[in-house]
Amino acid sequence: MTTMPNIDRRSFLASSAALAGSAAAGLALGFHVPFADAASAADAAPEVNAWVVIKPDDSVVIRIARSEMGQGSLTGLAQLVAEELECDWSKVSTEYPTPGQNIARNRVWKNFSTGGSRGIRESQDYVRKGGAAARIMLIQAAAGEWNVPASECSAANSVITHQPSGRTVTFGKVAAKAGTLEAPNDVPLKDPKDWKIIGKSVKRLDTADKVTGKQVYGADLKFPGMLTAAIRDCPVFGGRIKSFDAAKVETMRGVRRVVKVGDSAVAVVADTWWQAKTALDALPITWDEGANAEVSSDTIAAMLREGLDAKEAFVGNENGDVRAAIAGAAKTVEAVYGYPFQNHACMEPMNATARWTSDRCEVWAPTQNGEAALAATAEAAGLPVAKCDVYKVHLGGGFGRRGMTDYVRQAVAIAKEMPGTWVKLLWSREEDMLHGRYHPITQAKMVGAFDSSGNLTGLHMRISGQSIIAAVFPQNLVNGKDPVTFQGLNPTGAESVFGYSVPNLLIDHAMRNPHVPPGFWRGVNINQNCIYVECFMDELAHAAGQDPLAFRRKLMASHPKHLAVLEAVAARAEWDKPAPTGIHRGLAQIMGFGSYVAAVAEISISDKGRVKIHRIVAATDPGYAVNPDQISCQVEGSFVYGLSALLYQECTVKGGRIEQENFDTYNVMRIDEMPKVESVIVPSGGFWGGVGEPTIAVAAPAVLNAIFAATGKRIRSFPLTHHDLKSA
């Protein structure tokens, strides 16, 4: 195959050296122009197979299909390949194949989608086999040259050794020949006990350029002759453009074009983004806001409230007869919770850079889903997929938002208006806040039933609210039901099983979809489901007069992995001993994305009602832990994401649009509020779970249960800034 264009450090350095002295000010990127000649990358070397390129100098390039957005799976996936390849880890770098190449090669790299904490857990088998197959071929190539049986040769640390003679050769010397051999059919994988690289906290492969400013994100892309666009989409979802007065801004400095984008947006294209934004701010636009302009947070809340007692609902988990259990209970406990819309607020606002001609369209973009971005590109370009491609760059945050392709479509639509010219579309923070794919809004009515001995005999959880799947993948609804709504609440499966056994249980969902578009927001539906279940479990324990851990233990006996992580955090936090004076504890657990997680939070509340979160103990059982240090990073970061959401974040709706437009009204936790996070990794083996998301879900309920322990107040709506926690 031809080489693949990329802007990793090797080609960046190589080509910027070539351009040194001639590069004009502003030409911050020196890599070759893919549009002109995608096959001209300087460091071409034949591949051993789709996953592995080894150069004559023994350097190893491992191809990574999934996107790196900070979660570290670029490094983890490379570890998986390198383990089976038996290469020298210090010689490893990575590159992204393009989705177009994937299609052209019969999807040899399989799925590019990077969401749902799937990067490692769903590709571990085939990427390890890719590394193992390459090793087998390298050994065969060496054995062939030596004219000895391959079975007498072995590989370690990028060196192949013929055991009987002691002869050796490095991978780089035989890689070209290995690439011509037939791929092996039988590719056995190593026993986990023999792993040398998997399970090690090796350093990330992508740090160096991130500390010097050299890392090129989508927002930083620069191509010869490139213009830049700023865009405004109708702030009321579903609204359209009635008119705009382009003449008012067309003579402003730097402005090249004012372009209508679809029915609802207008973009200004200018020499620089600041010029484009300045002109866009000055552009008179009249909107046809449509019927959604009548919608507010209050009308949405009423719509959801109706669903709490609606007759019709999709059943996600049921055993026994919960209605009879509640009717015959000695005591019932009831509570209604709610969870707001929230924006992902990636640090790097949405952006994409496109060039369109009648014969080809290329997009460079930070995307979590290269193949979906390619499909969107082809559709917006009006060209066959084979005449389009998408080049991925590292993401300045993703969190689920960049699995969507709205910004890619816009960039292509604008570029199509200016054939042959590169156009970089960059959203302002305000545009990003107003056109999110928000954390879905839901409410839940929780009812627990006790018998006269204080045993929990029934639990009914009625969720009312928004379905992500109905909005994003309606084809995945099952007879109208959104199975993903029940994340963390399922009776069975390998993904997200409910951790409690209750004799009479009903968990159902009255789907109520407001017009504000939902999306996959890091943690997805376990975020609210874990708050609802784990806070209500705390309420039930309190009602039963039992310790929250002891109460849960009884209900978790048949879910030993769920219980094990809970016991792990309880042991580390010394739950059985009283907390220090003024410190209060809460705990929570859930299974999500194939992993088991739990947390204990230790907090205090000041006289003025301010919460201080001192310490979090968090346990994760991901089955296998590929890079423990990076798991800890994900766990630490998950608390920032989850606690920011709990403490501050809500997108409210007024006049059909989101009210919060920037970080001044959509606050984020800073370093001064960061608790000490102790990450306990307890991989029990035998399965592969994700780590980027599950921990977020336990952050809020562990803290909320600690707040109850401190104040006796139950917080059932968010963010916390709505509530007065001053002691009565």
């Binding site: 000010a25 502003g26 030409l27 911050a28 957005m69 900070g70 979660q71 570290g72 350093k203 990330r204 992508d206 740090t207 991130k210 500390v211 010097t212 400013g213 050299k214 890392q215 994100y217 927002a219 930083d220 620069k222 830049t228 400095r253 620089t272 983004w273 600041w274 607020a345 990636c346 640090m347 790097e348 606002p349 590292h394 993401l395 300045g396 945050g397 993703g398 969190f399 960059l426 302002s428 923070r429 990076q630 990073c633 630490e636 970061g637 998950s638 608390f639 920032v640 994401y641 920037n662 970080f663 001044d664 984020v668 936790m669 800073r670 370093i671 001064d672 960061m674 000490k676 996070v677």
Partner: protein, 149 residues
Amino acid sequence: MTRLTVNGTQHDVDVDPDTPLLWVLRETVGLTGTKYGCGIAQCGACTVHIDGQAVRSCSLPLSAVAGKQIVTIEGLARGDSLHPVQKTWLAMDVPQCGYCQSGMIMAVAALLREKPKPTDADIDAAITNICRCGTFQRVRAAIHATADA
């Protein structure tokens, strides 16, 4: 024309003097290490040093910085030798997505120049940058490690 000194090099730029320094750096001088995050001096991704002080360049017009010494993330290292903060950041794998880290590192470098041995309270007061990946625990540890190096 406005004359700027960025990382020791003079640039004469023909840009509207109201243009924020951030966009002059990124689009006219061509240094994209300094990032846009919010445009209202909330997030700190655009932090640079002006006459040695950490400043949020997204809300500072070009006209305010003429004649001043501007240092960006690209100018923090001394030749091939990384700044001590960059060295620790690399050694401790602080960045995740990395987008906020240029600004974070510039803010930390300014703090350490003023307070070579900062307390946790000093860090809390000085480092108000937003990081959505949530690297704060490592940022704090790396600040202390740099101070102790």
